[in-house]
Amino acid sequence: MAEIRKATGFIDWLDQRLAVNKFIKVMMTEYWIPKNINFLWAMGVVLMVLFMILIVSGIFLLMYYKPDIKLAFDSVNYTIMQEVEYGWLWRHIHGVSASVIFLVIYIHMFTGIYYGSYKKGREIIWLTGMALFGMFSAEAFSGYMLPWGQMSYWAAQVITNLFGGIPFIGEALVVWIRGDFLVADATLTRFFMLHVLLLPLVILLLIAVHFYSLRVPHVNNQESEEFDFDVESKKYLEGKKVESKVVPFWPVFLSKDFFVVGVALTLFFYLVCFHFDFAMDPINFEPANNMKTPPHIYPEWYFLWSYEVLRGFFFDIGGIAAMDIGLAAFGFANVIFMLLPFLDRNTEHTAPAHKRPLFFVWFWLLLIDMIVLTVYGKLPPTGNNAWVGFGATITFLVLFILLPIITKMEANCKCNNGGCK
């Protein structure tokens, strides 16, 4: 054991036992961030803050919520909303942040795609990020089910039924997941467990890995400029702060993050106080009824694009049932983003999209297509809507099939050192 001296103060006492000074250096004061990045790089910290808000508000809801199909609806809509002081506030904070967190996740994701931050050494960051997206989706869905309203119930019915599409074991798997022949008490209690314990644990673990994996290849920057972090950080420590291309995470970069978080939270609390209803579906204020389906069911806005891919195929093609094609397309849509680092064949460059003409077009087409899918996912799938949904679904699939081809063309183009301008 190292020699323990008489401490000169509390921090020194802790440092001898926990190496706090070293920890602070590695995590904060000597964790180097490039200077030329914009506000879009602050989305990670915004997400962290929103996730903390979710945990705290969730803990307060958890104290009054009852996971039982006879009690759940009233424990939310009467006890929490009417009786508990500020219960309404915790619920609206929880509901709105669950919705807003997806908006920020999408911005975070598309920033990564635009600036090529998913490839060349940053694949693990991308993969853990997409795993987090998957876990947040499961977390959001399991939470949506808990108030046991009509929309909760039928969302659970439809989502669990999706597993029925798996060949051979589908039917039995659906019963196993639900713990009953229909969505019932057993389903509610196990999704409650997933929502409050298992999934948050997995999310916390994934966040730790996501952060850790960022420390090694470092943060990308707006120009995708490559430089030696050791050399640049040495300049900074020597006092040549203007010349150095990096700044420490704490206190310099976080001060910028705090500003963005401040703006984000202003918007967030504006929504919580004045427009909380956008995260609350009116149909969900009717208790669940397993004998009556609401006339039009749809998921929360952040799942609409993949929901539209699921139902985009509404006619059989070549003897394959429309439903099976839809399920296959849905599966494709949910794993394809994960494979992005490997579909982009121009792996040597992390240039931003505006320096890659073909990729630039691809990026904006993808974004527009996903907005179209989201809009039409909310509309009833009849008449022309069905055809627009079909077209947008095909476009989505084709874009991802084209990606390896256009990025390979770009990689083969020798002009401008392969960056292709």
Binding site: Q157, I177, R178, F181, L182, A186, N290, I297, M323, P380
Partner: protein, 168 residues
């Protein structure tokens, strides 16, 4: 030296063997823990008296938590030999009232004489056969037995077995 190495290998293999066996057993236990409880599995049988039903009338009853549509066909509805249940010379269409697409409950439209699922626009005719939209197959027929003009749901009677073989 070689002896010692192989002894260590053996300890390693023995340990991983035990760990793997324990892991498999634990997974089995976890799987069973999520299976439906016995009280759920034994969800019972239901007897429905069909005699008071009028022509063209549809009633919905609950069996194992699922809606069951019973439609007494009127003369103008086409008969379907592969699906109709005949009790006392009257034709009935009996089906689990869940859309075969994603499990929503379709609604009976008396005007057009079809079941329409609002979720994704699926349509079924009076016999429960899918005619439009994403549903991949007709609505399922629950196991049943006919006892005079009474219908027993949950039991596989000879008429049910005949329908199942006709389908295959």
């Amino acid at each position: 030296m070689a002896v010692e190495t192989s002894r260590r290998d053996f300890i390693g293999m023995a340990f991983s063997g035990f760990a793997a066996a324990g892991g498999v057993i634990a997974l089995g236990a976890m799987k069973k823990t999520w299976d439906p409880l016995p009280s759920v599995q034994s969800a019972g049988f239901i007897t429905v008296d069909l005699s008071p039903m009028k022509e063209g009338e549809v009633q919905t009853i609950q069996w194992r938590g699922k809606p069951i549509f019973i439609l007494r066909k009127s003369a103008d509805m086409p008969k379907n030999e592969k699906r109709d249940i005949v009790a006392g010379n009257k034709h009935y269409a009996v089906m689990i009232g869940l859309c075969t697409h994603l499990g929503c409950i379709p609604t009976w439209m008396p005007a057009t004489k079809q079941f329409k699922c609002a979720c994704h626009g699926g349509e079924f005719d009076a016999s429960g056969v899918n005619t439009f939209g994403p549903p991949p197959r007709p609505m399922d027929i629950p196991p049943f037995k006919i006892n005079g003009e009474k219908l027993v749901l949950g039991e596989e009677g000879p008429e049910y077995k005949k329908l199942v073989t006709k389908k295959a």
